[in-house]
Amino acid sequence: MAVISLAMAASHAPGLTGWFDKAPEADRRIVRAAYDAIHDEIVASGTQLLIIVGNDHVANARVGDLPDFTFALSDRIQGPDEWFKPWLRVADYDLPGAPEAGTRLFEALRDSGLDLRGRTDGLRYDDNVSVPVTMSRIADTGVAVLPLLQNCTVPPLPDEKACYRFGEQLAEAIRTELPADLRVGLLGSGGLSHEPGGRRYLEIDEKFDRWWMDLLVEGDHERILAEATFDRMEQAGSGGTAELLSWSVVMGAVGPRPCTSLGYVAFDEWRCGVGAVRWQL
């Protein structure tokens, strides 16, 4: 029986790599420490496979045909996508994928009621995978990576309860379908508040972000699902904040429990509230 060895979540945003140095040192220190903590936790937990759940910024399918979740089943995870290189300004990466484990999970979950796809061709990765890979130096850990790309912003999409339920099913599939003793980490990638391409493109809803972080630390998942709905996320920044649905997947996988905040920063020029958490397993 495979085990979930790590459960964390963190923001991604092009500014975190593209213009990180624009932020005051105090903010940079918080963010560096948070992503360092992810690196250290991967190593300390003995994680062998890291599933990165993150928004597909309509980079891998038409807007009218975007699946709810896409399993990256390629042998290698390579990025960033060419289009994003001048924006992200990160080093190219070439990580070991997990096509066998990914296929088992995909097969186990394809009757979940959601629109799932498995893709063996190389997917395009932007800040969703490139930011955590770079900031948390994931290549240095030697861990295999399974990107699980999610539709967080193109309606219709699975809401917070559907994502939480999918997380529960994902955890069950990890435990029952993957090799015994395999140590599997879960990293939700996305959020916090932002509105890319909207009227509030320059704005961060710090009040919402701090409320969300406090809710997660408290760990009452029933309350989180009742109050931190997709609509509430949209109010805090349309078309971006709902990337927190990737955190909902991880929450569902680990079940009700408190977590530790690794810090939060609202720096306008990153155009996204930035925070990270680690669930206590």
Binding site: W19, V63, G64, P86, W87, P155, G197, Y201
Partner: protein
């Protein structure tokens, strides 16, 4: 809400995705925009808005907001080393119209 006007069937969405995915198409778009536009079954409203760089009109027609921001980058530059790029400025000027200067002043910019 930014997603309220989104129309998944609007072909400008496909055009922006193709431009992101195909470097050769980007070059052709830069050199001969009309030729590229002619290859897509766009409505007259879409063509007019694209020619005018009218991001607000494109938003109202149904371009996904994220792709709208990507279109702004396609037109105004893909490189960015700051959070206040030409692409973002052009996009917000269009979306906010007459409110832009007051909005930016309220933000202390």
């Amino acid at each position: 809400m930014a997603l309220d006007r989104f129309n998944p069937l609007l072909r400008t969405n496909d055009l922006v995705q193709d431009l992101k995915w195909d470097a050769q198409l980007r070059r052709r778009f830069a050199e001969s925009q009309e030729q590229v536009l002619a290859e897509y079954p766009l409505t007259d409203e879409e063509r007019t808005a694209l020619r005018a760089r009218d991001f607000l009109a494109l938003h109202n027609l149904g371009v996904h907001p994220y792709l709208l921001s990507q279109l702004a980058r396609l037109i105004h530059g893909t490189g960015e080393k700051t959070g206040s790029s030409d692409a973002t400025t052009a996009l917000l000027r269009s979306l906010l119209g007459d409110e832009y200067d007051g909005y930016m002043a309220s933000r202390g910019v």
